[in-house]
């Protein structure tokens, strides 16, 4: 688990995402760093220079200069940052449009329901993967609900809250999306690399918020097809319990929720 | 008053434009819930308009005669005289504050607190207001010897003068030619 979940910390500290959509985040990290690092160093350099060069030294009396305005310099440090943020905005605008695109013909559509404090993943044939974390042991990964999806295909996730505000967050996807009652949220992911990725609710949702975790099991397409075919329609897999239990198609809250 | 009103009216114009752009963009691409943001922006620029136009009106009423604090060349003598009345210590704000806190507690624990808060607040407001009347009577041309101690005595502050050997005849032209 340790090796699996530890994200590669490169790219100026930001991990690479495993989805096609994450390339846009990566691009923006690069753009941001190209501007932020030189500007940051310049400002720190000027501050340090001023501190060293102009500090008061006993025995070396200097008359402090009493200038107040320098219009060309002031104009420069107004206009140049404007240009910089305009460039950043340009890249961002393009990236955001590309990343946010929702396919009219996704390969798989899955509904993600969040509730206090667990997840329910509903597949097109009515199959349900559901579960909550183990409130007594945060290190217990066996009981977590599992979101199964194919790699290299467009998976459309429809995220719905059954009670309070939650956030669907998979660090490896470099992506957060809120589950808000009354707001309909749909987004696409194309995972490029099969694997087991941890996910977690990322918005305070009550007492056991920290335990509201899940796993994303991304399978090669053929393996996914086989898995999907083996799930009877309207069956329920409760996390932590091996095998498929009989179930019924339902839209009700999964009994684990409200107090 | 001129600068003050321009600053506020500038903010009003900016927020009005901002609201217009946002409204248009929301109409094309926005989410239904974003109408709340439009409503809040409308209230915001309206508030600025209220204040900015009031200040502009005050400025117009002066027919272009600036106050001493609006003149670059004003001396302390230009503002000579009593500035305002400044009440000294008073218990009524604390009473009214306590009343307001009790009102707040009524929102948590029930109406009984509001009765206590009401008594405190009304009593304090009466005390506060009558105290104000008293000071208003006393102040113009006040003779401190005639004021009874034990009552709240308001004080009027007058403009202080600066006595120094240094020559302060710094002319406006020398120091800030870019001011007009």
């Amino acid at each position: 688990m340790h090796q699996l979940t530890r994200l590669p910390a490169t790219d100026f500290g930001s991990p690479h995402g495993v989805t096609k959509q994450a390339q846009w985040a990566r691009l923006l990290w690069h753009i941001s760093y190209y501007f932020a690092v030189p500007i940051g160093l310049l400002v720190i350099g000027l501050i340090v220079w001023a501190l060293v060069r102009y500090r008061e030294r006993p025995g070396k009396e200097r008359t402090p200069a009493q200038f107040q305005y320098h219009i060309p310099i002031e104009a420069a440090y107004t206009i140049i940052p404007l240009v910089v943020v305009a460039i950043i905005f340009g890249f961002m605008f393009n990236a955001e449009n590309k990343q946010g695109a929702v396919s009219p013909t996704p390969a798989v559509k899955i509904t993600v329901d969040g509730f206090q404090w667990g997840w329910r993943f509903v597949y097109p044939n009515g199959h349900v993967q559901v579960g909550t974390g183990n409130y007594n042991n945060i290190n217990d990964n066996n009981g977590l609900p599992v979101l199964v999806m194919p790699a290299n295909e467009t998976v459309q996730l429809h995220v719905v809250s059954l009670d309070v505000v939650h956030t669907f967050y998979v660090p490896a996807f470099l992506y957060n999306r809120d589950l808000i009652p009354g707001v309909d949220n749909t987004f696409d992911v194309n995972v490029l690399k099969p694997g087991l990725y941890p996910g977690q609710c990322n918005n305070i949702c009550g007492q056991y918020h920290a335990y509201m975790r899940f796993l994303v099991d991304v399978m090669p397409p053929a393996q996914y097809k086989a898995w999907y075919a083996s799930q009877p329609s309207c069956s329920v897999t409760t996390a932590g319990v091996q095998g498929t239990q009989p179930g019924r198609c339902t839209n009700e809250t999964p009994g684990l929720s409200h107090t | 008053m001129k600068v003050e009103s321009r600053v506020i009216l500038g903010a009003f114009i900016f927020l009005t434009c901002l609201c217009g752009v946002y409204w248009g963009a929301v109409a094309v691409h926005g989410h239904a819930s974003e109408r709340s943001g439009i409503a809040m922006l409308v209230f915001s620029f309206s508030a600025y308009f209220l204040l900015g136009s009031y200040l502009l009106l005050q400025w117009k009423r002066r027919h272009g005669v600036p106050r001493p604090e609006d003149r670059f060349d004003a001396t302390q003598d230009d503002g000579a005289g009593v500035i305002d009345y400044f009440p000294s210590a008073s218990i009524w704000p604390a009473g009214l504050g306590l009343g307001a806190i009790f009102f707040g507690m009524a929102l948590v624990w029930g109406l009984w607190y509001a009765y206590i808060g009401g008594v405190l607040a009304i009593g304090s407001i009466i005390g506060w207001v009558t105290e104000s009347d008293y000071t208003m009577d006393v102040l113009p041309g006040i003779d401190p010897d005639e004021v009874e101690l034990g009552h709240d005595v308001a004080s009027g502050a007058t403009r202080p003068h600066y006595h120094t050997d240094v020559d302060h005849s710094l002319s406006e032209e020398v120091v800030h030619p870019h001011h007009h």
Partner: protein, 539 residues
Amino acid sequence: MDVVPGPRPRGLVKYITSTDHKQIGLNYIVTALIAFVVAGAMAEVMRTQLIVPDNHFVTPNVYNQMFTMHGTIMLFVFVGPLGFAGFGNYLVPLMIGAPDMAFPRFNNLSYWLYLGGFSLLVLSFATNNGAAEFGWFGYAPLTEAIRSPGPGADMWLVGVGLTGFSGIFSAVNIITTIFTLRAPGMVMFRMPIYVWNVLVTMFLVLLAFPVLTSAFALLWIDRHLGGQFFDVTHGGQPILWQNMFWFFGHPEVYIIALPFFGVVTEVIATMSKKPVFGYKGMIGATLSIGALSMGVWAHHMYTTGAVLLPFFAAMSLLIAVPTGIKFFNWIGTMWRGTLVLNTAMLFSIGFLLQFLFGGITGVILAQPVLDFQLHNTYFVVAHFHYVIMGLVMGAFSGLYYWYPKMTGRKMNETLGMISFALMLIGFNLTFFPQHTLGLRGMPRRIEVYNAGMGWNFLNLLSSVGAYVTGIGVVVTVVNMWRSLRRGEIAGDNPWDGQTLEWACSSPPPDHNFEALPPIRSERPVWDANHPDLLTKVGH
């Protein structure tokens, strides 16, 4: 001087009944510092809980109460009111040459509402379900009565509401004071930058706090009168809360920041023995920040999928520009000056460094695509703590700078430098690792975490840093207490100050000024003391 003195009570009665802006300002400052220590202790509890992965130092509920009240008290009771009501009350009349605030009794009332709000927030821990535990921005519908029962949440509403009213009253008072009580010759464009910044802050308060109070009223109606504003099953909209809260919440960021921008501007100018570089540009930047800050609220809501991303991204990126202008103006103020590197100046430098980093990560977070990655992770926690800890540095800078004016004595420089060093090291040790934690996917507001995520060592580092910071803060608190009696006598103008507060005695008398120097530039005291070193004209 022709002042008719009223009877000034002494002792406890003085603290309760005073209408003197200086006394009320001191009341605010002391209360705010108590709030800082209280909420800081909560932070230490949180860092102790997170020091190892599966810790059970406190229960989940207690942890949730801790981060909720830490955020609430720090923002509503400490850093905001300290800047605009504490320093604001004390300094604004002095800096513009006024004898007092425009509404002295109203001013006293503001303080009592503020103290009442703070008291209710603290007392809410003593109720049967404990304090509020839904985070300082309290997203509905978690805040509805069935999910957050008990008086704790109501006390949170009322406590914050009272501080909000206090802020609105202060705003009315300070704006009126600045508009009507300036000394002759103190035109708007000669006011110290601090006064300008407080003025803009007060306008933001006037626009922002009523929205917050309205949102609170709606929530209270939901909780007690069966309203359904935020209940989706009856046609309400939880997202409405987020829009209203952040419409307050983003101006709030500048409400807490602008006064301290002003503080460091004053400190840097005085300690460099120079006029503020680009004075008018600085005012323009402040006004731009004030205007733009009304249009960026939804950048806290990028991941809701219910806001217009390009609009808010553009506004959020744009607001970085005036902030950048301020940075270069601060550097320009130091340029070719004579820098006195005492504790006040060091804290201002600390502010520059911390805030620079917080600003850069702010530009990163302003981009929706990157925010989708970083939203609500520890990267965000690191970002805003760099910003706010920068402001705390600014606050401490102000305390060391104006303490002599307020008490007549200087604080101890050695203790001050020790405090600065501990705080600088502690801050960075606490919050720098949190950037990496966020990049590695650690969500905020969790009290336990899986040991296999690669978060363990960085959390340990962060907790150690929190303890170091705590010691640094205690050193300054001890220094303040100790210097009241043992500090070096300061005199009227110990730093060769430039603005009007240094023209009166330390501490200033009732109604402030024995005499005023002629006001011919934005630094009349400097002009009077250094007629040979007037501001150079031209560019």
